[in-house]
């Protein structure tokens, strides 16, 4: 990341001036499979029912024929809306790893909108859980991040390539801690060699930690 680039609100609202985005992820698409299966069964069943009603003899002359078609169409439309909302919610949930923190965004279009932040410096322990046939076959799992100041750990569910993100978070944490040490000791000591790498106008001096 270019140290002199102003990243304020660059990639997401609330991004700090010197904060760079390292990685981001959504849940593994496998979470949509149960909904896809239910959608296929219900849509197929209702479409078949609609087909039968239309091809029944004398259906056009009665009131109940078109009425049954209307009810079936309403059900079909409702199922399409519900399934589409579930897919959209999948896209809105996101985990962002920046150079300072881990951000877990849990959002739906209408019902909830929550964000959880963990400062990389506060991370005590990260646990990767990848149990079962499908998680190991399709390479997804949960990452649990323990923080001393929080009672409950932050769990990132169904993360694809959990090993990759585990190493990314660990690497970002190490870099962040090294940066803070440089800030703390490097800028105050005129004889320190690292002062050359972080001059007085470095954006790192502007972070309010």
């Amino acid at each position: 990341m270019d140290q002199h680039t102003d990243n304020t609100d660059r990639h997401f609202l609330g991004q700090q001036k010197t904060e760079g985005v390292n990685e981001y992820s959504r849940e593994h698409p496998i979470v949509l499979v149960p909904f896809l299966f239910v959608w296929l069964v219900v849509t197929g069943g209702l479409s078949f029912g609609l087909f039968l009603i239309i091809h029944m003899e004398g259906v056009a002359q009665s009131f109940w024929g078109p009425f049954s078609v209307l009810v079936t169409v309403i059900l079909l439309t409702t199922v399409q809306h519900i399934f589409a909302l579930r897919v959209f919610n999948y896209y809105l949930d996101m985990v962002i790893l920046t150079s300072y923190r881990v951000i877990n965004i849990h959002k739906s279009l209408f019902l909830y909108d929550s964000k959880e932040f963990i400062d990389l410096n506060e991370i005590q322990d990260i646990k990767k859980v990848q149990e079962g046939i499908w998680p190991n076959l399709l390479n997804y799992g949960n990452l649990t991040i323990h923080v001393a100041t929080m009672n409950d750990p932050m769990t990132l569910h169904h993360i694809p390539k959990p090993d990759y993100y585990l190493h990314k978070i660990n690497g970002a944490k190490r870099d962040y801690i090294a940066e803070r040490r440089r800030q703390k000791y490097g800028n105050g000591n005129a004889n320190n060699e690292q002062n050359d790498a972080y001059p007085q106008d470095s954006p790192f001096t502007e972070i309010n930690l």
Binding site: R10, H11, F12, L13, V21, E23, Y24, S25, R26, L50, I54, V59, A60, G65, P66, F67, V69, L70, V73, I74, L76, T77, Q80, H81, A84, L85, V87, F88, Y91, L92, M94, K107, L109, F110
Partner: protein, 75 residues
């Protein structure tokens, strides 16, 4: 005829809801501006836009098809 009018009314509500959903999606997406690069492969905004378009097409075609079916059964 009454059923046809009821069907059209229901689908006007359905399409309005779909447009509201799309408006909320785009207002949310505008808060995130990840550049197109190798690092950003997971955002898949392109796929997301396709999903939105498919959703609108399904809802609109459902409205048209149901109206035609009900009209053909009971004009």
């Amino acid at each position: 005829m009454a059923l046809l009018i009821l069907n059209i009314f229901i689908h006007i509500v359905s399409i309005s809801f779909a447009l509201l959903v799309v408006a909320r999606i785009y207002s949310h997406v505008q808060k995130y501006r990840f550049e197109k690069s190798a690092q950003d492969r997971l955002l898949k905004l392109f796929h997301f836009r396709w999903v939105v378009w498919i959703y609108l097409v399904v809802i609109l075609s459902s409205a048209v098809a149901s109206s035609l079916i009900i009209y053909s059964l009971n004009p």
